[in-house]
């Protein structure tokens, strides 16, 4: 086994035991990254920084001062601002942008001794479900079943591809409507979106501020627990960051869920859902039952309105957040014609810098916030959002500990296959995940099996607010029962 194939937990133990150095571990990842260019996962490589951080980590480990993430090589989604390193959010409008500051999440990770291998591909401004809107071109799923290249999902597609292909031990992702959980499910890895406010958003390029949340994408539930513990915590620089203690998530992995109540929402049984997804869900229910949990049928009656509500609220917030890209302070500015004034500068800069999906969402957001439509669209969507949140509050008040659902409506599809589809068809990828963002809850995707084609499929567990510890323990039980160990055969 090469060192880059290790989990965080195994690498941590080997580093502490002196069986491995952070420099050797980092070198193994850098070699895998250079051999993995066909996946187009790493879009800005930082080998020199990585080796410098690895040497510092080795010194800390030798001195006996080694937090769990010390010396662990990570990939960082391009959405995180990293000092002196290109941070483009997958967009041409931020071409050349090198932040003068460090996001809170990466600062915490580096403070804990983690190593950054480089920045990872993603959909432009995290708007997409297939990594096909990126200015860097498509990231490619390491899973392959014929001559087609498959999507790793999106928007954290580069993160998912890099972890699944063992280019890094784990990666950061962000999730506004499913952007951690859907790519995790498409690539057979674990991805958790924490409770809104658990992880600081400071220094992460904003998409929809009331929905965005960063989280880890890892090879195991234990790794997600370790990694999340290092990312989470109160940050005065993010006014929505919760001033709550961060539990020891790894210690919460007892594997005991006897007597816990697992809700199965009937509204997630969608018309036209593939039989394989339905069967996978039934398998997951049986696994939780075998582990001693009580299975309870529940109703979340407003589920079907989550997607339309999301596609009002997220573009509305995006149109406001992305107003800052004006060609004045950072990033791209269009070449102007003689006589062009400041309005032409804005309009040409934004037309050149933003791709079609981002332009579409900004314009939808502009429309739903415009005078005369604000109440009909934006306020109505926020009312529906309140009802969706209330649905969850009701079942949790009735004693439900966690909710089990499919993670995605299908396994990974081919890159380009949705090119001529209606934008709304692509939005349907988020159907099982988007409710969780609207309600601000924690959700985790766990790989559970392979479909008949040989592609990974995942299930989603949804937890009570702030109960990531309990959620991770449920996920740990599901992971052990499913025993998913398949890896993509190397072709890249």
């Amino acid at each position: 086994m090469n060192a880059n194939e290790l989990t965080i937990a195994a690498a941590r133990d080997a580093l502490r035991a002196g069986d491995l150095t952070a420099v050797d571990l980092t070198m193994a990842c850098l070699t895998a990254i250079d051999a993995g260019d066909g996946l187009n996962a790493f879009v800005h490589k930082t080998p020199e920084l990585a080796l410098e951080q690895a040497r510092a980590a080795d010194a800390r480990i030798a001195a006996g001062d080694a937090p769990a993430m010390c010396g662990i090589p990570l990939g960082i989604k391009d959405l995180f601002c990293t000092r002196g390193v290109s941070s483009q959010a997958g967009s041409n409008i931020l071409k050349g942008f090198k932040p003068e500051y460090e996001s809170t999440v990466t600062a915490r990770l580096f403070g804990a001794g983690a190593v950054m291998l480089g920045k990872l591909n993603m959909d432009e401004f995290a708007m997409g479900s297939s990594n096909e809107t990126s200015c860097y071109g498509n990231a490619v799923n390491p899973w392959k079943i014929d001559d087609r290249n498959l999507t790793p999902g999106g928007s954290s597609g580069g993160s998912a591809a890099a972890v699944a292909a063992d280019l890094c031990l784990a990666a950061t992702g962000t999730d506004t409507g499913g952007s951690i959980r859907q790519p995790a499910a498409f690539t057979g890895i674990v991805g958790i979106k924490p409770t809104y406010g658990r992880v600081s958003r400071w220094g992460i390029v904003a998409f929809a501020s009331s929905l965005d949340q960063a989280g880890p994408m890892t090879k195991s539930v234990r790794d997600a627990s370790i990694f999340l513990g290092a990312m989470a915590g109160h940050d005065p620089k993010d006014s929505t960051s919760a001033d709550l203690a961060v539990p020891d998530f790894e210690a919460a992995l007892t594997g005991d869920i006897r007597g816990k109540k697992i809700g199965i929402p009937r509204e997630y049984r969608m018309d036209g859902m593939p039989d394989e997804i339905e069967a996978l869900w039934a398998d997951g229910i049986a696994m939780m039952k075998d582990a001693g949990a009580e299975i309870v049928d529940i109703s979340l009656p407003h589920t079907r309105y989550a997607l339309p509500a999301y596609y009002v609220i997220a573009p509305a917030e995006a149109s406001s957040n992305l107003a800052r890209y004006d060609g004045v302070r950072y990033g791209h500015r269009a070449t102007l014609a003689p006589g062009d004034g400041i309005t032409e500068m804005y309009e040409k800069t934004r037309a050149e810098g933003f791709g079609p999906e981002v332009q579409r969402r900004i314009m939808i957001g502009t429309y739903v916030l415009s005078a005369g439509f604000y109440d009909a669209y934006y306020n109505r969507a926020r009312r529906v959002r309140a009802l969706i949140k209330r649905d969850f509050e009701t079942v949790f008040a009735e004693g439900i500990d966690a909710i089990l659902t499919p993670a995605t409506p299908s396994s990974a599809f081919g890159l380009g296959e949705m090119a001529n589809a209606d934008p709304v068809e692509m939005y349907l990828n988020d159907v099982f995940t988007v409710t969780v963002n609207l309600a601000g809850l924690p959700g985790i995707a766990v790989p559970v099996g392979l479909d008949a084609k040989g592609l990974p499929m995942g299930l989603q567990l949804i937890g009570r607010p702030w109960d990531e510890a309990g959620l991770l323990n449920h996920a740990y039980v599901l992971e052990r029962a499913a025993g998913f160990v398949a890896k993509p055969a190397k072709w890249w």
Partner: protein, 95 residues
Amino acid sequence: MSIDIDTARKVAKLARIRVEEADLPALAGELSGILGFMEQLNEVDVTGVEPMTSVTPMRLARRADVVTDGGYQMQVLANAPDAREGFFAVPKVVE
């Protein structure tokens, strides 16, 4: 609610995104399709439901009204497409 070409032009203008006249019909069609999808929200009875304004019930933290940061003119300007003499430079704004 379907979006006509004039509305598409107006939305593009409000969003400060240049859209060529020839591209407006396709844009209007796409926006109409997405808005049509949102029409489902009209089926929901939202009587007496307040629009959600905070994801978690919390009082936003306050801090003392004092200067806590600043003094980085060069860093602020470091990524500007056009910075001169310590300022951002833009095309003429006032005739």
